[in-house]
């Protein structure tokens, strides 16, 4: 049983005069609220929503930029017993085609009572916000509600009622809303507080993470809200543009905790290397936690080497394994731990041939490095299973299955998707990994899933678009992710068979058209398109393009592209 019945009860017990959120805009501009002011503004937003007839159980979709207004509107909806969901706000980094696709799907599935957008939401995208019968579109007030105290009769919320819906990342996955109860969220947060030894009076979170993603919403909003921590946040766009501001903010506010996806551990050092930075002081940082993508020790090492001179301790670099379906974390490395997460080296051939992790020395030829994602949180269990579902012993790579006391019960309004991912109460993550000496190691994505810059991409989605080109032989397209050591992430490579050899004379033109089609359909950029003659792609016995065999053939022809990250399975 959790300490508080609901997230609202936890917020209501927060010390009113303690700082809760600082929204850092630039050197001259920032906005701050205490817990008392946050509660007051949330009640103001609740009143606004109630005026639009939002009530217990209604879904409220928020499409607002990063900042305090979206947070108070989120809690305002919860105060009424409604179920908020934050969706990505459009920005210059997201192509409109992809954005429209995700927005239309997600808003339709949620069948919201109200969709809240901000004053500056682009008019040309409004048509893609699904407004079904009974859905109202409203614009949030920039000021965060009226100035005085707001009288509001709060709804009586039950611990097992839905608190909110968070969306799992991905192109098609954007439509998968993970519905979570108050109990599930509070349970996860209590586990995290215990494992991270959080003290709300002395810890402070730094975040640029978007609130429509679990890392931003759970670790950097809900966790500070119930453990009474101060969080200093900036917008993801400001961070991308000027990543040195992350160091500046951590220094200025003496931040102790941050969560980052793997690519950020390379992005920040590489982007800031050429700039003459002041000597920021990062000695206050207890943990910068690498989660969401497979943890790569080379990325963490690069980050540490870049900023050790600023007082960043090597033991501050930590790891976890997290997913929206489990509210957030499944595992977390122990803190403090002088040298960061455990690393092991596995014999390469036995790993590739038998999926068996046989520890060898770091200098052993062909050794493959793995970085631990930590130990299981309390009341969490995992199973590693083979393709046939057999439970595998420790040290063997297989699919990771999860069971816990904060696991979601299903995707909102999608029983079809829910039934696909559960087996006897175990959630099948689709990730590959192994368990060894009480710690989980995540090896990579299952089979074909592409992880590009932190986004999960399904090759089928891209292949479908490629195959629509008249020059491409029907069904003869294979999409793969190839690791780019410069960006620390995978990039998309397309292989397509043309209808006849003569078409190869127009390869440049066809390649560009395929790129245009993919970007128009999904909003993702393709690194390379390779057109091949008829019958080049390897087929399966069922006559379909066989991805892994085609990949092997392709890499034999283009060995210069075969750069596997050291820690990833071949």
């Amino acid at each position: 049983m959790t300490k508080f019945r609901t997230l609202i009860d936890a917020l209501n017990a927060a010390p009113g005069d303690r700082l809760f959120v600082t929204a850092w805009i630039d050197e001259d501009e920032r906005e701050e609220v205490t817990f008392a002011e946050f509660r007051r503004r949330s009640r103001g937003q609740a009143k606004l929503l109630r005026d639009h007839h939002v009530a217990d159980g209604d879904r409220v979709v928020l499409i607002m930029p990063q900042g305090i207004p979206v947070m108070t509107t989120f809690v305002g909806a919860m105060l009424l017993g409604a179920v908020p969901a934050i969706l990505a706000y459009p920005n210059f980094k997201v192509d409109p085609a992809k954005y429209r696709h995700g927005l239309a799907g997600a808003t339709a599935n949620l069948a919201a009572k109200v969709v809240v957008i901000d004053e500056e939401f682009p008019e040309d995208l409004l048509g893609y916000v699904h407004l079904g019968k009974g859905t109202e579109l409203i614009r949030a007030s920039a000021g965060g509600g009226s100035a005085g105290e707001v009288e509001l009769a709060e709804a009586t919320i039950q611990p097992d009622s839905l608190a909110f819906i968070q969306h799992s990342a991905g192109t098609t996955g954007l439509q998968k809303g993970v519905a979570l109860t108050h109990t599930a969220v509070l349970t996860q947060l209590e586990h995290l507080v215990a494992r991270l030894k959080i003290d709300g009076a002395t810890d402070r979170v730094y975040s640029w993470l978007p609130l429509y993603h679990d890392m931003g919403l759970i670790a950097c909003f809900m966790l500070p809200m119930v453990s009474y921590m101060h969080v200093v946040m900036q917008s993801p766009l400001d961070w991308v543009m000027h990543p040195e501001t992350m160091l500046q903010i951590m220094d200025e506010y003496r931040c102790t905790l941050a969560w980052l996806p793997n690519f950020a551990f390379q992005f920040v050092p590489r982007r800031t290397r050429q700039r003459a930075l002041p000597l920021f002081d990062l000695s206050s940082v207890r943990a910068v936690i690498n989660c969401s993508e497979p943890v790569r020790s080379s990325s963490m090492k690069e980050f540490h080497e870049a900023f050790a001179s600023m007082g960043l301790k090597s033991g501050a670099l930590q790891s976890c394994y997290a997913m929206a379906e489990n509210v957030f974390a499944v595992t977390q490395s122990d803190i403090p731990q002088a040298s960061g997460p455990t690393r092991i080296w596995a014999d390469g051939p036995r790993l590739r041939n038998n999926k068996c992790v046989v520890p060898v020395g770091e200098e052993s030829p062909g050794a493959v490095a793995f970085t631990s994602s930590g130990r299981l949180l309390l009341n969490h269990k995992i199973r590693i299973v083979s393709d046939s579902g057999a439970v595998l012993p420790d040290g063997i790579v297989g699919e990771i299955l999860v069971k816990s006391d904060c696991l979601f019960e299903g995707y909102y309004n999608r029983p079809d998707l829910t039934s696909q991912v559960f087996t006897d109460g175990w959630y099948r993550t689709g990730d590959l990994g192994f368990y060894l000496n009480g710690e989980l190691y995540v090896a990579g994505r299952k089979k074909d899933l592409l992880i590009v810059g932190g986004e999960n991409l399904y090759p089928q989605d891209i292949e479908e678009i490629v195959a629509e080109h008249p020059a491409v032989h029907d069904g003869r397209a294979v999409v793969m992710g190839l690791y780019n050591p410069d960006s620390g992430t995978e990039e998309i490579v397309v292989i397509a068979e043309v209808e006849n050899e003569q078409l190869l004379a127009h390869a440049t033109e066809i390649e560009q058209q395929i790129r245009n089609n993919v970007v128009a359909g999904l909003g993702v950029a393709v690194r390379n398109v390779f057109l091949k003659p008829p019958k080049w792609i390897v087929k399966s016995t069922a006559g379909k393009a066989a991805r892994s065999s085609t990949r092997d053939k392709f890499l034999r022809e283009h060995p210069e592209l075969n750069i596997e990250p050291q820690e990833t399975l071949a």
Partner: protein, 83 residues
């Protein structure tokens, strides 16, 4: 093209690894898939340097960056003079 526009055109051609490609002020860049999100960040930083403006990225949409002409118009519309 102005010298600044010429500089950004050359910068983009290098970014997309097509140094011989002719990019003029009205060449579609985003809608054609020639540049991706990470390239847009680079271009916005270059635009900040060339215009000596600070450009709040939250006020920029992809359509605002589709051509070089639009990029400079966007900098004038939303940029703040640098200190």
């Amino acid at each position: 093209m102005s010298p600044e526009a010429q500089q950004i055109a050359e910068h983009i051609a290098l970014l997309i690894r097509k140094p011989d490609m002719v990019i003029d002020e009205s060449t579609p860049l985003v809608s054609s898939g020639l540049i991706d999100s990470m390239a847009l960040v680079d271009i916005l930083l270059k635009l900040e340097d060339l215009t000596n403006m600070r450009i709040p990225p939250g006020k920029v949409q992809p359509k605002d960056m589709n051509t070089i002409a639009l990029m400079f118009a966007t900098a004038q519309r939303v940029g703040k003079p640098r200190k």
